[in-house]
């Protein structure tokens, strides 16, 4: 039994150290790592992801300024097939560049972020809200288009570095398109003036 249980008492010294240390931790979360949940939430890092949401540029008109064009790439690439998109068509049946129905079933979604990676328009991004429990298991856990649309200002608030990089890239692309449009306009310009 060792020499009169020497190893046993070494173990008890470790436990005693933890017991006393837990009273004098001072918020460092070394010897007492409890967060009292509803009152005190653990600060999440910027990159943390839970479920997807759709980005719209202006909060006042979400449906009009959303970036999604219903290309259905995310629906095809999603591994558990949790996205359902129906493109919007106007009265004559011509497809608008907008989804009419965009459903994500969050009881199926496995938060893998592949939809974000493949989207060519930076329209769908990952949210970090984890308090999503509902009182039902099936229809209540499907999120529809109005709930999914959140503004770019919200996106900048939750993920500053990623959102500012996306904004810079979109602005650069827009400026390049504008610059390419200006020489075309200038090329057409003198002709009408001449006549």
């Amino acid at each position: 039994m060792g020499l009169l249980g020497k190893g046993l008492f070494a173990g008890m010294a470790v436990t005693a150290r933890n017991f006393i240390g837990s009273y004098f931790d001072g918020g460092r979360k070394e010897r007492l790592f409890t967060y009292q949940y509803p009152e005190e939430k653990m600060p999440l890092p910027e990159n943390s992801r839970t479920f997807p949401f759709l980005v719209c540029d202006d909060e006042q008109d979400p449906v009009g300024t959303m970036r999604c064009v219903a290309c259905k790439i995310c629906e095809t690439e999603c591994p558990p097939q949790c996205i359902y998109i129906v493109m919007d068509r106007d009265e004559k049946g011509k497809p608008q560049q907008r989804p009419k129905v965009f459903d994500i079933d969050i009881s199926v979604c496995m938060q893998c972020q592949i939809c974000v990676e493949v989207c060519p328009f930076d329209a769908i991004k990952m949210d970090c809200d984890y308090e999503k429990s509902q009182h039902g298991r099936f229809d209540e856990l499907v999120e529809h288009l109005p709930d999914l649309l959140k503004s770019n200002a919200y996106y900048n608030r939750i993920k500053p570095t990623e959102a500012s990089a996306v904004d810079a890239r979109l602005k650069a692309a827009q400026e390049k398109k504008a610059k390419k449009a200006v020489p075309a306009a200038k090329a057409e310009g003198p002709a009408p003036a001449a006549s």
């Binding site: 070494a10 173990g11 990159n47 591994p79 938060q111 893998c112 592949i114 990676e117």
Partner: protein, 388 residues
Amino acid sequence: MIQPLTEEQRFQLVPGPEGLIETQQLAVSIGPQHPSTHGVFRMDCVLDGEVVVKLRPVMGYLHRNHEQLAEKMAWLGSMPYTDRLDYLNSMANNWAYALAVEKLAGIKVPERAEYIRVIMAELTRLLNHASVIGFMLQDLGAWGTPLLYAFREREKILDLFECVSGSRMMCNYFRFGGLRVDMDEKALGMARDVVAKFPKFLDEFEQLLTENEVVLARCQKVGILPKELAINGSITGPMARASGVEYDVRKVDKYGVYGRFDFRVPVGAVGDVYDRYMIRVLEMREAIKILQQALRDIPAGPHVAPEVKVRNFKVPEGDGYARTESPKGELGFYLVSDKTGKQPYRYHVRPPSFINLTTLEDMCLGHKVADVVIILGSVDIVLGEVDR
């Protein structure tokens, strides 16, 4: 219709030794709902008093059709599913799959990505071994104390994973040709912090447990796995090294940049439960050495090979097998790609826990019921991997 097995077929009572007293054997199923079988796993045991006379493991309670699902999805789409194979070490599984696809498609991975992959894999090894030792001691009966100390350290590493990849456990971080996003300076600082504090935790853990007489008495000479049986049964990982087999895939294959690091591989002599526990503790110390070298030498550069596409990724025709040293053993992926190349034609996982479990009966015969639980804990199984 398949008939379920009858009681006699399930248990197969073995005739006991002749003696003065007529005894009866007890057929017990240490069943799928049990606090210590590490998941839904069943063992049909026949006991003679307290001694185990026959033991038959029954797996398949967590089968989720992983391999068939992968044959219907694109190559990248099954990367999140590999996270859920060995759900405690998601980065290790990701690496094995990425390695297999890169081997088939002939993609070269940039240096910085290789170093970050090694850092992530060794951090995963640290957290796996700490958790396994914690769980084994929980099975021994120390009510939660070593487990919660191990989880305290695990939380720091999981916070680092969340900072880098977005999710604590199901990371989905590796891509073919590199990683999804780069690791910035803040994350590298967190990693250095974790590595600096870990040896102190290991010393405290060892003081609590290694010299403890109760642990010594319960774990030594229990569940011995002889070296020949380990080699014949394809046992890999810390379990084989504890039995004396000097085999570590990192040293044999030198995949990634493991050839550049200076680390040793501990090997045991007896192959009992105590050896497996000590080999894991020594491997944690070696992993810290590798981490210190990797964090010191990490170069700048791109984090993913630029020619790899995310959508419409095609792999040329052929088949290949790639393996890594995951914390539980040798994790291998065998992929077959056909002419179209858009999804795997055949996808097979070689799970270390499943192969290591086949020797459970040989290790448990002659020991008591209490030992069966500890031996199962030292094999280190995760049911997600065993049943896929």
